[in-house]
């Protein structure tokens, strides 16, 4: 079970949270001007990397706030959490190679 850091509450068990997939998927401001393909990209397509992934989590059994997490999809190592609007934490090559946070 992952240990997730809520930027407001601190580290808590994964069971207190829900993951809602990739973060930073911005809703288009001009939906009507988009082609079906462009709109489809927004609605359906996600990057699904093997590696670092910025994803949106909600502390629903806690403060109910939304925030972002940088997680490695293969190792499940979490490299940090940040509030909406904040920049994602830098993950050094060293940290990635070492495998340990």
């Amino acid at each position: 079970m992952l240990l997730i850091e809520c930027p407001w509450c601190g580290e808590r068990d994964q069971t207190e949270f829900t993951c809602h997939g990739e973060a930073h998927i911005v809703r288009p401001k001009n939906p009507d001007e988009l082609t079906d393909e462009q709109w489809g990209d927004y609605v359906f397509f996600r990057s699904n990397p093997k590696g670092l992934h910025k994803e949106r989590w909600v502390h629903d059994h806690g403060c109910r706030r939304w925030f972002n997490v940088v997680r490695h999809t293969h190792t499940d190592i979490v490299y940090g959490s940040y509030k909406p609007g904040e920049p994602a934490p830098e993950v050094s090559e060293e940290a990635l190679k070492g495998g340990k946070k």
Binding site: L2, D13, D32, W39, V58, W66, T75, I77, P84, G99
Partner: protein, 1003 residues
């Protein structure tokens, strides 16, 4: 003649306290401090079970949790427990154990015939024979399971309690042998919070079985005692005996099973739980689980009396039990010489059979000095005896070790103590994503590196010297504590623990015999599932060469012991057959739990009444009095119907539905999701969330809305009311309340943080009595100061005032199509108002109704239930609800998807009414609708029935469904074939079956 194998002195048992127990109905005696294994062996009971497939007699192999053979059923009745490993069962007075997997008894087992017929039962036999032809498995399965005899689960409820504990610690030490103790000591001294878990009752690990070891010039157990005493004095150290770390998950989350009172005997735990399940988040983990000895793979190596050499030594030194008088030690290494020497000292006649050509060194010299006979370069080719080993046949090995040559020789033996080396226990490390490395010298896998914060030490790390274990443990404890933020990382000097060095092993994974493999003699590598070296050859011939295929084909490692004694041997044999290096074959994935875990422990307190929370409304006590039958909706106990005079559900629902439309009915609608929405941007926000227009909704007015996701699919609905310019009251479906609240927050917090909108869940704050029916206005008028004149209080409006003397918000909204009022009062007044309405309702013939009638009444009106008539693939247009889609709104969630080619194409599944030709037939929900009936599936499906009821007000059955191109099919006749073979003709219609013009609602 009791305890014939008990030594006159020695061991850690309490000889002053005799303990009586029964095995297979016969009474025996042992001592306090015994395990069931040691007590059985003390009484010279070697035959304790039958094997899984061939029903061969089996005895105790090990002295630990890796035991594959000695598996028994413990206790009786509601406390009986199958698959208990005798070395892990501590003896208590009155213990009752029975052998598993044999009938009628372990001595005469009818299944033993399988052994005679064994050439008809090769590996893969069950799959090959019974999985084909298709469908026959079900017929064979119960016969196979009965004779396989995996023990019996109790059929009654478990009377014991189990506790769950969640903890955080700085350092978790798994294993209380010398390495683990040393690690706990240095970690504990820093003030770090340490948990030390040991599987056995006593700490010390191998030292408990070693009478000669010294630390700092004193008996090693004195160091163990002193270390434990120091640990006990540390406030932040938790010492857990009888506790197995069962699993290692991501982010250093581990679970452990503490057997709190099992050793006291079933039902003797008093107020303590039987077991406690620990869920531990550890900053650092020290893995000190030790190593498990490997069996030798020689002919008929499974006879009772054939044991691991280290286990024999444990029974002698720890329990004062010499399991036999004639001990043959069969080995490829020096560690078994310690067993030979201790058995000799205990009075056994000992013979060593060593496959090495020229074993030399201190251990060999010590054995020679005691005049123990040593046969070198010799193989045990087979054993004699059936229920108990009586002797071994040995023969000289050829130079390459692949065969035997010369004369065979028989040696009497009642114990064969075997050792082919040691395997570090890497299960937890591997569960925790640790990567393994093959160690050529050990010929086994050892921990290499791991992404999580852990350190492997001692025998579990491939270190087998006492000083080495001490040194690794002390260093690891210090390092782990420092990494967790405690101490300075300084490691105390390692105490002296001199030992005689051990020489090299000779590796012969398979011990040859005078007969070809698979003929006459069985070389078991896997005892619990009866898998032999010949089976691995068969697996290879049939192409099952990868380790995961090998495992499933031969069932190696698939027993309750997870192949702890067999895995490495199996991999090594396969590598020999394929002529590749062992790491090329690979290792199987280790999965939790490390040892079997009771369901009780996993469930903890969450059983019976505490299994799931029950949410009850304010009116619940009255529902109880009224004899409500409940249904669970979103954890709520909702009255489903209120039966009268022995009515069944159908009768009650027909009566309730009819009466609602004739007089007045009342339903508890408190469970509907309610969200209070405030802020200057609240209306703009709702305009984005709902498909229809909200900006111009007047204060005090209510509106029905559909919510779509960005795919354009409906996911919830409800009525929202404008309480003030910047204040709304939203209702959601009962089950969708949490989901909708999350949805609103997600948009507000992540996409539109600039919007000034604040949402608060108020579901529990309001108790809601919903009055429906032509008499509802008259009834409510008796109890309220609100002007109910339909000219002043119109449909889809809200008024504040008092009902039954308490402040109330009354919403004139309807889910039945009748004149209706939803009376919202603060939770604490809910029962008061409900009761007052029941009392006042008597003269209006008020009927209470539940969710079932609500479903029928709304279906009569063609109202949907989101989640029942929609399934995540339905747009508002598919529901024929284009009227609710704001054409002039520039944007709202899901809007752009309505124009996507698939969403806007004709012929989509659309919601329609469906009437059966026979008005008495109520179609099952989920039934498929087809155009052309074939005599068997598959048939081209047009859609399915989503709602279906017998309607008393329409006077016939009614249904709704999602049908391809449904709107254009109105009037068409289609068919509904059912599972029972019947076919029903149906007509597609409009989904509103009652009061099509909606005059009653507005009246």
């Amino acid at each position: 003649m009791t305890q014939t194998n008990r030594l006159s002195s020695g061991g850690r048992v309490n000889r002053a306290k005799t303990v009586k127990f029964t095995f297979d109905g016969k009474t025996y005696e042992g001592f306090e401090g015994d395990t069931l294994s040691s007590a059985l062996l003390a009484n010279n009971v070697h035959l304790v079970g039958r094997s899984f497939k061939y029903h061969r007699p089996r005895g105790v192999l090990t002295a630990g949790s890796e035991e594959p053979n000695a598996i028994v059923q413990l206790g009786e009745g509601n406390r009986t427990e199958p698959n208990c490993r005798t070395p892990m069962v501590e003896l208590y007075d009155g213990l009752k154990a029975t052998a598993q997997n044999c009938w009628p008894s372990v001595n005469f087992d009818i299944g033993g015939i399988n052994n005679k017929l064994s050439r008809f039962f090769p590996a893969g036999f069950y799959y090959k024979t019974f999985m084909w032809p298709k469908g026959m498995w079900e017929k064979y399965e119960h016969v196979i399971r009965a004779s396989a005899g995996m023990g019996n689960a109790p059929s009654e409820n478990d009377p014991d309690t189990y506790a769950t504990k969640h903890v955080h610690c700085d350092v978790l030490v798994a294993g209380g042998g010398v390495s683990g103790l040393a690690a706990a000591l240095t970690a504990g001294r820093t003030g770090a919070r340490v948990i030390l878990a040991e599987e056995h009752a006593e700490f010390g690990g191998q030292l408990l079985s070693d009478a000669d070891a010294t630390i700092d010039g004193k008996p090693a157990m004195e160091w163990v005692e002193a270390t434990l005493a120091e640990l006990r004095s540390m406030e932040e150290v938790t010492i857990l005996p009888r506790t197995t770390v069962t699993a290692y998950y991501d982010h250093n989350f581990l679970s452990a099973l503490e057997r709190v009172t099992d050793h006291l005997g079933h039902g003797n735990g008093g107020d303590l739980p039987r077991q406690r399940f620990w869920q531990i988040r550890a900053k650092q983990v020290v893995l000190a689980q030790g190593a498990i000895e490997r069996p030798m793979l020689f002919g008929d190596n499974d006879r009772p009396g054939v044991m691991l050499a280290s286990a024999v030594r444990t029974y002698i030194n720890r329990f004062g039990v010499l399991p036999g008088k004639n001990v043959v030690v069969f080995t490829n290494n020096d560690s078994a010489y310690a067993t030979a020497i201790d058995a000799h000292k205990a009075g056994a006649k000992v013979t060593i059979v060593d496959i090495r050509e020229n074993p030399a060194g201190a251990w060999v010299e010590k054995a020679k000095a005691l005049s123990i006979q040593i046969h070198t370069n010799m193989a045990v080719i087979g054993t004699t005896g059936y229920r108990k080993v009586t002797g071994v046949d040995i023969m000289p090995l050829t130079a390459d070790g692949k065969g035997v040559t010369g004369q065979s020789q028989r040696i009497d033996a009642d114990i064969v103590a075997m050792s082919s080396g040691w395997n570090p226990m890497i299960s937890l490390f591997s569960q925790g994503r640790g990567k393994l490395r093959y160690d050529e010298k050990l010929t086994s896998f050892v921990p290499d590196h791991c992404q999580w914060a852990n350190i492997s030490v001692g025998a579990g790390n491939g270190e087998f010297t006492l000083e080495g274990c001490l040194s690794q443990g002390l260093a690891a404890g210090s390092k782990a504590a420092q990494d967790a933020g405690f101490g300075d990382g300084v490691v105390p000097p390692t105490p002296a623990a001199p030992e005689d060095a051990q020489g090299d092993m000779r590796i012969l994974w398979y011990i040859p015999s005078d007969r070809p493999l698979g003929r006459g003699r069985k070389h078991f590598h896997e005892f619990q599932n009866d898998s032999t070296v010949a089976d691995i050859h068969l697996a290879e011939r049939e192409g099952f060469v990868s380790v995961e295929h090998l495992k499933r084909y031969t069932t190696t490692g698939m027993g309750t012991d997870q192949g702890k004694t067999s895995n490495v041997n199996a991999i090594a044999i396969m590598s020999q057959i394929r002529d590749v290096k062992i790491p090329m074959v690979g290792t199987t994935t280790f999965r939790p739990p490390y040892t079997p875990l009771t369901f009780g422990a996993a469930a903890g307190h969450a059983v019976g009444e505490l299994f799931l929370q029950k949410r009850k409304t304010a009116m619940h006590p009255t529902h109880e009095e009224m004899g409500a039958v409940y249904e669970d909706v979103g954890d709520w106990k909702r009255p489903r119907y209120f039966p009268k005079d022995g009515e069944d559900m159908h009768a009650a629902v027909q009566r309730e539905c009819k009466q609602v439309r004739e007089t007045v009915g009342m339903m508890d609608a408190s469970t509907l999701g309610k969200i209070d929405i405030q802020g200057p941007d609240a209306a703009e926000f709702l305009n984005m969330i709902y498909t229809n227009a909200w900006l111009k909704l007047g204060v005090g007015k209510a509106r029905y809305g559909l919510m779509c996701n960005e795919h354009g699919m409906v996911f919830d609905d409800g009525v929202t009311t404008r309480l003030g310019e910047n204040h709304f009251h939203m209702t959601t479906t009962t089950g969708g309340a949490g989901r909708v609240a999350n949805w609103l927050e997600e948009w507000l917090q992540t996409e539109w943080p600039e919007m000034k909108v604040y949402c608060t869940s108020v579901t529990e704050q309001w108790a809601v009595s919903s009055l429906n029916g032509p008499k509802s206005r008259e009834l409510l008028a008796e109890l309220t100061d609100i002007d109910l004149d339909p000219e002043n209080f119109k449909f889809m409006e809200m008024r504040e005032g008092h009902v039954a003397g308490v402040p109330a918000r009354v919403y004139r909204i309807s889910f039945t199509g009748e004149i209706a009022y939803e009376i919202n009062v603060p939770h604490r007044y809910g029962k008061h108002v409900w009761d007052a309405l029941i009392e006042a309702g008597k003269k209006y013939d008020l009927v209470l109704y539940g969710t079932e009638s609500m479903h029928v009444l709304r279906a009569e009106k063609g109202f949907i239930i989101a989640g029942q008539d929609t399934d995540g693939s339905v747009t508002p247009m598919d529901l024929d609800m284009s009227w609710i889609v704001g054409k002039n709104k520039p944007d709202f969630l899901g809007r752009r998807s309505f124009a996507r080619s698939d969403t806007s194409r004709p012929g989509r599944k659309q919601l329609v009414g469906i009437l059966t030709e026979d008005p008495n037939v109520v179609l099952p929900e989920g039934a498929h609708v087809v155009e052309t009936v074939k005599d068997r599936p598959p048939m081209d499906m047009l859609g399915h029935i989503s709602s279906s009821y017998m309607s008393p007000n329409v006077g016939r059955s009614i249904a709704m469904g999602l049908i391809k191109d449904g709107f254009n099919r109105k009037g068409q006749t289609l068919s509904v074939p059912l599972m029972d073979g019947s076919v029903h003709k149906v007509t597609i219609t409009d989904p509103i079956f009652f009061d099509k013009e909606g005059e009653r609602t507005r009246g």
